[in-house]
Subunit: 428 residues, 2 copies
């Protein structure tokens, strides 16, 4: 993926759609009726259902006739209709004739839960199909376009390719690398603090930034946090402030190698039930395979309630000592058992912290994108920072010489409220 996004586009899609009333500082203005203009509409449309289509790609389609959109569609929830079908079904017989169809991803050619989309284009008199990007799967990539051409339809490929690929990046990474897409997200002060040293929980970033976070929580399939963050903040990690036809809360994953959660106090148990577990969403607790609980702990009401709750999966971490910590985590979240528990293939994970866990993912370079909010103030704290000396338990000593440092590539900077959102990728 070559990544240099046009202003106004992000891994969260077309920002203006998320902030319709805001005057975003950066927004690429396309000529009206240009291919880029209509493809932007198709991308915006593809965001309509959040990403309820996962692991299918959330595709958008608009049908343009005489410089007007006469129909549009977004991929439905997994197993439902694809974007082209949704868009075409709204039209009467013959209405597709002479139109230009904008679709963010090459129409599929295979029979999955739905018949192949490319067949929908046959014998409709469609003048032109504009496609943002080919299918990433090398086995089918280009086939949809080829079939369209064989039907005598003019095709143009590559309009807003990078911008659409960023939005569909979990699908692309899953197809290409056969592992879940990993996004890291945090909010920090200018001096890199996630919180002040009083340990009190307070927002670092402003309301516009938080809205983007909620949007990401439903874009990605799961949220991963460390048990320290769970027992410190008791976050609910649910999706708020976002309206969609198919609203969904992400799967929660707690990284708890030593089983701290099984030994938490009654007060903590109450708080967990009240706050973090109240939504009834599914939770995976990742624990070491060799974790030891004594008889009393095993027989405790709390342990039994976790063990017998079908919303909870106690998943043992794979035991490969040669692997990196993050490699073990990601490997342990692959496979049939996880997918069955989740209810569909797990395609993407948003890692929300705390700083200890994020530091390991950064250090081991196990990520596809960073979503970083920077709030313009200083805290002067020392505890809640990435790579802090106070976090040596899971973070091995981290220190880089400037001359040997690896710079990330900034693909987006945007001012949201009075915060800066940066999105960065590894230089690959």
């Amino acid at each position: 993926m070559s990544l240099s996004l046009k202003p106004g586009f992000s891994f969260g899609g077309h920002l203006q759609r998320l902030y319709p009333e805001e005057n975003l500082s950066r927004e690429t203005v396309f000529l009206e009726n240009s291919d880029e203009y209509w493809m932007t509409q198709a991308l915006s449309k593809s965001m309509e259902n959040g990403c309820a289509a996962n692991p299918n790609p959330s595709v958008g389609c608009v049908v343009v006739s005489n410089n007007n959109i006469i129909s549009s569609g977004c991929t439905e929830i997994w197993g439902g209709k694809h974007a082209e079908r949704v868009a075409f079904e709204c039209l009467k017989e013959g209405e597709l004739a002479g139109t230009t169809v904008y679709v963010t991803l090459e129409p599929c050619t295979h029979v999955g839960k739905q018949p192949p989309c490319v067949e929908l284009f046959r014998n409709k008199g469609i003048a032109k199909v504009i496609i943002a990007t080919e299918d990433p799967n090398p086995i089918v990539s280009g086939k949809g376009i080829q079939q369209l051409k064989e039907m005598g339809i003019e095709c143009k490929v590559g309009v807003l390719k990078t911008e659409v690929q960023a939005w569909l990046s979990p699908f692309f990474i899953q197809q290409l690398n056969k592992r879940p897409f990993i996004a890291l997200k945090w909010a920090q002060s200018l001096d890199g603090c996630f919180a002040d040293d009083h340990d009190g929980w307070q927002w670092i970033s402003g309301i516009q930034s938080r809205k983007y976070t909620h949007w990401l929580r439903q874009k990605y399939d799961a949220i991963l946090i460390g048990v320290g963050t769970l027992l410190n903040d008791f976050p609910s990690l649910d999706v708020r402030e976002i309206q969609n036809q198919y609203k969904r809360n992400p799967l929660k994953i707690i990284y708890d190698p030593f089983g701290k959660i099984f030994r938490c106090t009654e007060q903590e148990q109450e708080k967990l039930n009240e706050k973090s577990f109240k939504m009834g969403t599914k939770q995976i607790i990742l624990i070491n395979s060799r974790i030891l609980l004594d008889e009393q702990e095993k027989n405790s009401k709390w342990f039994q309630s976790l063990k017998n709750n079908k919303n909870f999966l106690l998943q043992k971490l794979k035991d490969k000592s040669e692997n990196k910590v993050t490699g073990i985590i990601v490997e342990s979240l692959k496979g049939k058992e996880i997918d069955e528990f989740f209810g569909r293939p797990l395609q993407s994970i948003l890692i929300e912290g705390g700083p200890r866990l994020l530091s390991v993912f950064l250090q081991e370079k196990m990520y596809d994108v960073l979503h970083v909010f920077i709030a313009p103030f200083f805290l002067g704290g020392e505890k809640h920072k990435l790579f802090s000396n106070k976090q040596r338990t899971i973070v091995p000593y981290f220190f880089r010489d400037v001359s040997q440092v690896e710079r990330m590539k900034i693909v987006l900077q945007e001012k949201l409220g009075n915060d800066i959102l940066l999105e960065m990728v590894q230089e690959y």
Copy 2:
């Protein structure tokens, strides 16, 4: 000053002028021939001489006739011609008739080193004068505009007002607050490090960011650093990579309360002569009034060479114990002796570090603007950071509770190369 800059404008002026070949991510595109379009040209023109006009404002003027610029001018070096005079002198008799004149600052009405500019407009048949901002001095503010109107010339005021005020902010602050304008500048990694813990000197930011720094060094009159930075980095602090008609290097100010510089080793003396002092530019060394040197030190060749060099001024810090550290520094840089040494009134100071000195200016809120470059990598160091625990010598303990924190206001975010430039002001 209400500060919300349009994309592409900064405290360094119109960014596109500094980076003509770069495709800046943010750039406000005005309709051709709109007032904003021509005022942007006037602002760009005003940047032509760096800020050699200081303490006079660097003003730009363009004369537009039939949608063409027929003449333009920028304020010359201090004591030289003002922008309007430069622009008008290029024109033949009668050519001003029917034109629209764009000028970034209200024409002056007083006799200074130059006769009043407003008289240049009389009886020329000028159709219209467009002005970005009134003069900040309440005694003359509005008088130039009034006189233009009395001449029967149509006036419009306020086009790109905020953008021009940012560029002219040292002049505005000096006029309004009777003290030098204070700008802080630093480059940091994402985790807030200025350098790695090996103390080796290396660029944090990329070449485009450094170009902006050089531009600022000639915008501002002086650069202030701490003696620790001087003896650690031996910086030359000169202006490179910038071409102007009137190129100038800033005055250097070394904050050295305990007179470390007088006691430096021979090797350090050599390095200073080779690197930091080689340009022959003027230097002020700020020392405590009660500093004690023994006879041997006083008679040393090194001390005598500093004392007798007319490029050096050993300036004693004012001794007001009730003041904040930064208040004492700024007070000690005001007054006739300093202005005479500098050769003109000292209007602005760029504080370039190190982190210890910058932390004090931040903590005591003694600044008008922050220029901050953020480079997208992590260092994990602990020594070279703002508000570091390892810097308690001059920084009193700094810690903020998130709930009580004062957020700065971001007025610019721009990607320069692969760095982020933020410009921030206090919320006033």
